[in-house]
């Protein structure tokens, strides 16, 4: 830069931001420029190559920040990771509720037999059954704790959505890193854990698949 840009040129460029960067408030940029000039002892009427360089550094910093944020894949967090996490947690709640109900039915069946036992055995069985009922309270507690986790995920979702709104489509459109190649001879890709109920193979399906090898 051979000399300070004229005031009119700076104003024109700041105004052009309204068109090229819809999320950027030109008035705010102008205020920042004014504060930078003032902090360097420059009055509003004085053009300075130092002020221009500072603004360029600020612009580069903002661009680098956008690139760093894009690399974190906030769009994948919103579109993939958070929904998957919520689905898995709901599956946990459903599974524990189903299992608890199975336990209740079995225990209730045992309880009905206490009437056919002698007093001593009836008391022993009743005590054991009661302990089972009490222990099954775990399903309520785990359900509540999971609800807290889901609430935290909701807060994370709001925060990440806020970031996406501030930085706009540039973050969604940033180039994606290619996933790292799997290690040779590794079966890590086979360790997906339990599938969601609608995606899991049944025992009958597995038996049929094994039989097809014979």
């Amino acid at each position: 830069m051979t000399g300070a840009a004229p005031r009119s040129d700076i104003s024109r460029r700041i105004g052009a931001l309204a068109t090229s960067r819809p999320g950027v408030d030109p008035a705010e940029v102008a205020e920042i420029a004014q504060q930078v000039a003032s902090s360097m002892g420059l009055d509003s009427g004085t053009a300075s190559s130092n002020a221009g360089a500072e603004i360029q550094d600020l612009s580069r910093f903002i661009q680098d920040l956008k690139a760093d944020l894009a690399a974190l894949r906030p769009d994948a967090v919103i579109d993939e990771h958070l929904p998957a996490a919520k689905e898995e947690l709901q599956a946990v709640v459903d599974a524990t509720e189903g299992a608890t109900n199975e336990i209740f039915e079995a225990v209730e069946a045992i309880e009905t037999l206490t009437g056919k036992m002698n007093k001593k055995h009836s008391a022993q069985v009743t005590e054991a059954v009661t302990r089972i009922y009490e222990a099954c309270g775990f399903q309520d507690i785990t359900g509540q704790r999971i609800a807290k986790v889901v609430s935290v995920l909701g807060q994370i979702e709001l925060t990440v959505n806020g970031l996406l709104e501030v930085f706009g489509e540039e973050v969604r459109e940033a180039p994606r890193e290619r996933p790292a190649a799997a290690e040779p001879d590794s079966d890590k890709h086979l360790m997906g854990g339990p599938q969601l109920p609608e995606a899991a193979m049944s025992q009958a399906d597995i038996d049929a698949l094994l039989a097809s090898f014979d």
Binding site: G192, Q203, I206
Partner: protein, 129 residues
């Protein structure tokens, strides 16, 4: 028909102690009392190399050695190679079943499972009892 040795040593492998307890109790109900446990593949392999087991029942999802890796080690070992091996796992994708079969698994039970399924697969692998 050769009678099944109900006292055969069985090794069960799972990193969740709750699951080990469930399988042990179900085996006991079926008449198998001689059951050892391991909570990871490496420990299981050590036990297999120090004692003759008639059957291994193993989970898949364990670290650092997975159940599939344990199976491959067993099949690659000249002394252990023919040990009956049942995988009991929550891994239920086609590619998992295929990989286990190709590695030499004798049978594959998907979690959650019931006592009837366990008995059925034991009958298939070690014979009727």
């Amino acid at each position: 028909m050769t009678a099944i040795n109900m006292n055969m040593p069985i090794l069960i492998v799972d990193d969740y102690k709750t699951m080990l307890r469930i399988i042990r109790n179900l085996l006991k109900q079926l008449g198998f009392d001689n059951v050892d446990e391991a909570t990871d593949g490496s420990t299981a392999l050590q036990k297999l190399r120090s004692k003759d087991y008639g059957l291994v029942i193993s989970d898949w999802n364990m670290e650092p050695m997975t159940g599939l890796e344990l199976l491959k080690e067993v099949r690659a070992d000249s002394k252990l190679g023919k040990t009956p091996f049942i995988m009991i796992t929550a891994e239920s994708k086609t590619e998992n079943v295929v990989a286990a079969k190709q590695a030499g698994v004798n049978n594959y039970i998907v979690k959650p499972f019931n006592a009837a399924t366990l008995k059925e697969k034991l009958n298939t692998v070690i014979g009727n009892f």
